[in-house]
Symmetry: C2
Subunit: 125 residues, 2 copies
């Protein structure tokens, strides 16, 4: 387990620790969904916009740029005719998918226990 030379300052509870920024990036609805959407392989901008139901192009762009800046995804431009941009997970992004997938799965698995979902829980429609 890649024991780094110094672990003392790595604490998500410390506002000045870089961990906090990374947590803020990953603990985000759109980030969690976008990374999950790339788990099956590279996807194009339009495909991501469709998959991430309800996301606006502006927010999707911002989310993808942030993930790219932090090295979680790669952005590949194919200068073909109607322009083609593919987003794919980096090794780091793939690794980050594990805890995020667990979180998404937990939500789906336990949704019936939430008051928000209670209405639809008995809804056989």
């Amino acid at each position: 387990m890649h024991t780094t030379s110094c672990d003392r300052k790595h604490d998500v509870y410390d506002a000045s620790c870089p961990c906090r920024q990374v947590l803020d990036l990953l603990a985000n609805k759109w980030s969690a969904l976008a990374l999950g959407a790339l788990e099956d392989g590279p996807r194009r901008f339009g495909a991501l916009r469709d998959r991430l139901d309800g996301v606006s192009p502006k927010v999707l762009t911002a989310t993808l740029r942030r993930l790219e800046d932090q090295g979680l995804i790669d952005r590949t431009v194919f200068p073909s005719v109607p322009l083609h941009v593919e987003y794919s997970l980096t090794a780091l992004g793939k690794d980050a998918c594990a805890p995020l997938a667990a979180l998404r799965a937990w939500v789906v698995d336990n949704i019936e226990r939430f008051p928000t979902a209670a209405v639809s829980a008995g809804d056989g429609r």
Copy 2:
């Protein structure tokens, strides 16, 4: 284990699914930190404010209320002299802690791989 009658509509990728709202609640910096801070047992407002370095009382209140509304935490008021309010995890909240703890742990464990942390990685200061 809680096999519900119908799982088909539960999808975090569907904007209209209650899952999305729950994901939005949990996939949030302050929620993830607040629930984690309560893992060791009940804590008071002030203790949480201290632990969640950088949080403003307003945002902490809003976060706690949201978590309370969704049944993840309990708020107990002790009408003692300088007023005493204790926040604690519900069974649901305890369960939600597992994936969130995994996410926090992953961040701390992999922080050196992020460009954001690269500066401080070799920084012995």
